[in-house]
Amino acid sequence: MTPKAAFNLIPLAAKQLLRHRVRTLLTVLGIAAGMFLYALVESMQTAVSRTTAVQASDVTLVVYRENRYCPSTSRLPLYYEDEIRRIPGVREVIPIQITVNNCGASLDIVTFRGVPPRQLARFAPEIQVTEGSREDWERTDDGALIGENFAARRGLKPGDAFEAAGVRVTISGILTSPNLQDNDVAYVHLPFLQQASRRGLGEVTQFNVRVEDPAHLEEVAAAIDATFKTAEEPTHTQPEKAFFAQAARELIELTGFTRWIGLGAVIAVLGLVANAVLLVVRTRIRENAVLQTLGYPDSAIAWLVLLEGLLLGLAGGLIGAGSAMGFLAISRITFGNEGQVMSITPDPGLFLSGLLLALVLGGLASTYPAWMAVRRPIVESLRT
């Protein structure tokens, strides 16, 4: 069979599928449901590894009170800032007080990060203000600079006010940052947050540290902890993503479990396509024999069967993976735990790989039916 012939047969396979509209529709919906689940699970897995897998280029450390894992219990003296700044390899440091509306695992977490306003631009030059203005924020005591994901989730814009965890702020601007955590938090003035949350003025939750050279991330972390080893409040320092991985261990274990859901969805799709295509082959034994009589080789008959599986997979994949992306775009799910947040966002790469997987599953599931279709002697099939 030539490539041109293979191409010529595509409309025929499509027409055959439309012959049993209801059956095809049900099958496509089933595949779509499976691929929807799969794409959601994969999106979640991707979000987890994006927020927790430390990369070679990461330069941010989090300094936390040793053995305190929740922002409400980690307290470090503000004056540590100057000592940390003096440690070799440290490029920049910023004290942060974290206040969250919910310290456990939650789907809609509001995280305030109280920072000295003028220090933020120096510490994180990658943060860009897309709406409102940074100057406005620096001038406004109760101003908040909020991440774009958070803004979209809550439908907030500059000038709006909102309250969470007993803290009421006015939005001065929306920020976007390649550092994913930033896109889900609200930056506010440190003194304002300390007052609003009735925490000590000289205390913060953590320090974020930028190192000069990503290769020395662990070394600098060790040096910081060594400095405060015998201090009243000893520290525990680790890369930001490792910090998240540790803080949200339970969450990650839970999402790890969802891999089984993804696998289950994949197997269900396989079974569904195989069943549908097998049924098609059974009901078309004589028709295929007629095509063989016309001179269709086994390869063309098998290709026609395979095409039906592929088309089912394609349609189901488009609908399933597409609606998963749409769902994520609209609902913007954010997981959070102990002040760290993780957004599940739609990803075109994932959409494409979902589509590809659906195609592969469709093809795979119809290989056995395709073999069934060419196995019988022609004359026997004609006699049925």
């Binding site: 041109k4 010529n8 009589t293 080789p297 002697p377």
Partner: protein, 231 residues
């Protein structure tokens, strides 16, 4: 039959056996048959005498248990499954009693089926399909689906499908068996025209003596052997 050049099909001691449970059925038993090019041959015989079996062997959708079948110099009994499929596509058109059109395809699309395997341009395919449909007198029914056609029209579409790749050999298994007299006569007339004007070699199985009368000669198949009818 004196001149080898004129022989299109030559069967030499062809035997076909089927296993039916424990029993061995032998519908064709060391059968010899020569069919000249351009012949319009009718084949009659009681039910179960092996007529369909013989057509299937001649058209290369089945292979003999022993013996040889040469069509236009090609030993089709020795061809591989794949080579046989390619051979069928060029050399034979098969016409079934029950037409066997694909119900989801229009008359045009049904006739187009054999051409989809070729590297033809869309326009070339259309021309061939239109020519075949016009030959069977169905130019005005091209875009009708099989369920919108009468039995006689369906059979004419099936004949157009058998003709479209211009094979030298047409085989027909009781092509008028399911039709009323009028439609049957139209089909027989069409086959006669194809034989006379296009030089097609036609082998037609029939139970109907009137249908056999349309052919240029009739053979009787009985107990796996052929008897020439003297008319």
């Amino acid at each position: 039959m004196e001149n080898d050049q004129d022989i299109l099909i030559r069967c030499l001691s062809v035997t076909k056996q089927y296993k039916k449970g424990e029993n061995l059925v032998t519908p064709l038993d060391t059968l010899d048959l020569d069919i000249p090019r351009g012949d319009f041959l009718a084949m009659m015989g009681p039910s179960g005498s092996g007529k369909t079996t013989l057509l299937n062997l001649l058209s290369g959708i089945d292979q003999p248990t022993s013996g040889s079948i040469e069509v236009d110099g090609v030993a089709i009994h020795a061809l591989s499954r794949r080579a046989l499929a390619a051979w069928r596509a060029r050399q034979v058109g098969y016409i079934f009693q029950l037409y066997h059109l694909v119900p989801v395809l229009t008359a045009f699309e049904n006739v187009e089926l054999p051409l989809l395997l070729d590297d033809l341009k869309r326009r070339e395919r259309r021309e061939k399909v239109e020519a075949a449909l016009s030959l069977v007198g169905l130019s005005d029914r091209m875009h009708h689906f099989p369920r919108e056609l009468s039995g006689g029209q369906e059979q004419r579409v099936a004949i157009a499908r058998a003709l479209v790749a211009d094979p030298p050999l047409l085989v027909a298994d009781e092509p008028t068996g399911d039709l009323d007299r009028e439609s049957a006569d139209a089909i027989l007339g069409l086959l006669q025209t194809l034989s006379r004007e296009q030089g097609k070699t036609i082998v037609m199985v029939t139970h109907d003596p009137k249908a056999a009368g349309a052919a240029s000669r009739t053979l009787h198949l009985e107990k796996g052997q052929l008897l020439e009818a003297v008319s």
